[in-house]
Symmetry: C2
Subunit: 244 residues, 2 copies
């Protein structure tokens, strides 16, 4: 916010990139678009676009989300992830990008975007392989994945991946898919049904193909999980980016 008239201020373009996660086919998938022009022509990239004159980054993220998925943002979780600013990240010039993380359920198979790009859902593991993504998007995607994983520990956002009505088992599958590990059904049920405000009972039930019907719940308001629901102890992992 200050004040050095003699410094060489960068002429900067600002974009917003979206990491849109959903759970499909028992996998965590991310929405990617095929680039229609250079650089990285034909390669896959995160959806995104330029910040406009009168909007906040949040506005821009919501607008891009709507353009790419047709979803209006009311029923999904959207949060700012981090801003990426390597001067070399875009060969065309100085472009910094604010990355956003969006978590949703039941997101539509995307239609062609505004400039006729093809968009696809792809498993996150696949997208992270082999320099498949343009720019620094693999790095952004990696950060988003870690953020999603840890948010599942400390908050109730996992419900953002579920439909309007869902069972405890539906929610457990979200955790299992995103954490990549199996959870004990009994302990999971106890934990989250006790956590105040995580689930709202509806009294309705869902009859499965086979087996006992399951109670259906609605998501409660998003909040912190207290106590948190920790992944199994991995040892020592650095949390968050540190500069120095």
């Amino acid at each position: 916010m200050t004040h050095d008239p003699d410094s060489d201020r960068a002429a900067v373009s600002v974009t917003v990139d979206l990491v849109i996660f959903t759970v499909r086919d028992d996998e965590l998938q991310v929405l990617l678009v095929e680039r229609g022009k250079a650089p990285y022509l034909g390669q896959l990239a995160l959806p995104g676009g330029h910040l406009r004159g009168k909007e906040t980054l949040d506005d821009a993220a919501l607008r891009e989300l709507k353009e790419e998925t047709g979803v209006d943002g009311a029923h999904l979780h959207l949060e700012q992830l981090r801003t990426y600013s390597d001067p070399q990240r875009d060969p065309r010039g100085r472009v910094i990008t604010a990355a956003y993380l969006a978590l949703g359920s039941n997101l539509p198979v995307p239609v062609a975007g505004t400039d006729a790009r093809e968009a696809y859902w792809m498993p996150v593991g696949t997208a992270l392989h082999d320099h498949m993504l343009a720019f620094d998007h693999a790095s952004i995607l990696g950060d988003a994945l870690e953020r999603a994983r840890s948010k599942l520990e400390y908050t109730t956002v996992a419900t953002a991946f579920c439909r309007e009505l869902f069972t405890v088992t539906d929610l457990r599958r979200v955790y299992e898919v995103i954490w990549g590990s199996a959870l004990d059904p009994s302990n999971f049920r106890r934990k989250i049904t006790r956590a105040d405000g995580f689930l709202e009972p509806t009294g309705q039930r869902r009859i499965p193909a086979t087996g006992r019907p399951a109670s259906l719940y609605r998501k409660g308001p998003p909040h912190l999980l207290m106590p948190p629901f920790l992944r199994s102890y991995n040892g020592t992992l650095e949390q968050g980016a540190q500069v120095a």
Copy 2:
């Protein structure tokens, strides 16, 4: 990162603002500068400056930190907090700012900055009162405070507030000052001396004015605290910014 040649791209200036925290006089204090020009002439603000052509935001944050405190960043913790982008946040025009959080110990009383601004350490509680800060800096400072508080739960960054050599009680005071609540000395000691890699014993001791000498430790490498060291249960607080 994309691709709408016809959109009205914003002409944006990019700055970096620093929330530099230190513990002085048993209080959490933040470094503020007195603005030397309009807008908000004479008011207090977070130190910061414009992003330059060939640097990352991290580089810019380190540079500003050095300019404001003379500290070279090697001995403190620095991380990106969030980017603030309200179109009205700066009356001069479109300026978005990437806020950084810096945690340090024993930071010097700042000298006059490059453009002869006065800089002060001020208790965070005081700085948050009464619209004292320029721009949206009170909001940034509030976010930084919450980030610092929660990082103390999940990581070992609290040692960033301590000098080279410190006692368990020194570290406990950091937690008490930042969380604003008293902690049981016995349980605190057990918890953090067990946490692998939090503290490195030095074999040295410090003789206090009165009482038994205390063992001196050095900080271990920063990492996640597992299991975390949770603040006492506050109920339901929203963690992190959510857009929709």
